[in-house]
Symmetry: C2
Subunit: 147 residues, 2 copies
DNA sequence: TATTGTTATACTCTATAACTATA
DNA sequence: TATAGTTATAGAGTATAACAATA
């Protein structure tokens, strides 16, 4: 009989590893008073994939009410601005400011530093393979992969 | 200048993908009234890596108080049993019952079904590479990898 | 006194529901 | 009436702190 252990499954390992890595990223973002979801929002705006709050909320798989507070927080530090859509004044068009772009770059640097620790001990080929496959899996489950 | 996007980092992708996959796993476990952490606890007991509640809590990176409720839940469904250590009666020795072993096997089957969906579209070599590298990264950040 | 486990409490994150403005 | 966004409220999950039993 096949006795692959549950801890060896991709599902279980992605879950535990994702939680741990997410926590580490969150710790480092905390010094800038940000959370991973703020970074996700900024990245989505930078990619131009969406602009209205509802569209962004759907892509991020979060409730519209949560998006309000994420946007509030980023707006308060000047990283994003909100403008009413002239063609439909119900819509708030979110846009990254220059400050937001700079902040996003700082967060990216933090993530890349974490990456360097995570791939320590892997060969360049293994690292490249991991990046490629993670992207494929992310895309296959419907996550935005604008890279 | 180097403009790798934050969403393309391993850290960000593991975080988002891990959250999504963890949620999917949790959904399927819910029909058995379990959560991923219950599975993690059973797997740890099955591996024999630890037995006292405090040791298990440390390995799982959860608070001792949380371990009490996880163990309570599993004990109530007959999946684990608690026995006082005769040599140190402060310690509760947790052990998986036969029912627990069967329940763990069911959860493993659920995880493997999820795996099949996640690797759909990957070549066997890519899948094997992903498993290998995830295990290496998990081990490098201190996660138990008894496989 | 220190340690193991337990209970009580509080906090963080996020969703659901109610509401406002615009269409 | 329906939709975009906002505010108010509630729930899940987890940690911290206080406590009891044993060492």
């Amino acid at each position: 009989m096949n006795d692959v252990k549950v801890t060896a499954t991709i599902a279980f390992r992605l879950g535990t590893l994702g939680a741990l890595v997410g926590d580490r990223f969150a710790e480092r973002l905390a010094v800038r008073d940000l959370k991973p979801k703020h970074v996700g929002l900024m990245a989505l705006l930078e990619s131009g994939a969406a602009a209205s709050q509802l569209d962004v909320a759907k892509l991020m798989h979060v409730a519209p009410s949560l998006l309000v507070s994420l946007a509030d927080h980023l707006e308060a530090r000047g990283a994003v601005k909100r403008e009413r859509d002239p063609e439909d004044r119900r819509k708030q068009i979110l846009a990254l400011t220059d400050q937001g772009l700079a902040l996003l770059a700082e967060c990216t640097a933090l993530a890349r530093a974490l990456d360097a620790e995570l791939v320590d001990g892997l060969s360049p080929e293994e690292e490249a393979g991991l990046r490629k496959v993670l992207r494929r899996v992310a895309a296959s489950v419907g996550l935005p992969t604008p890279d």
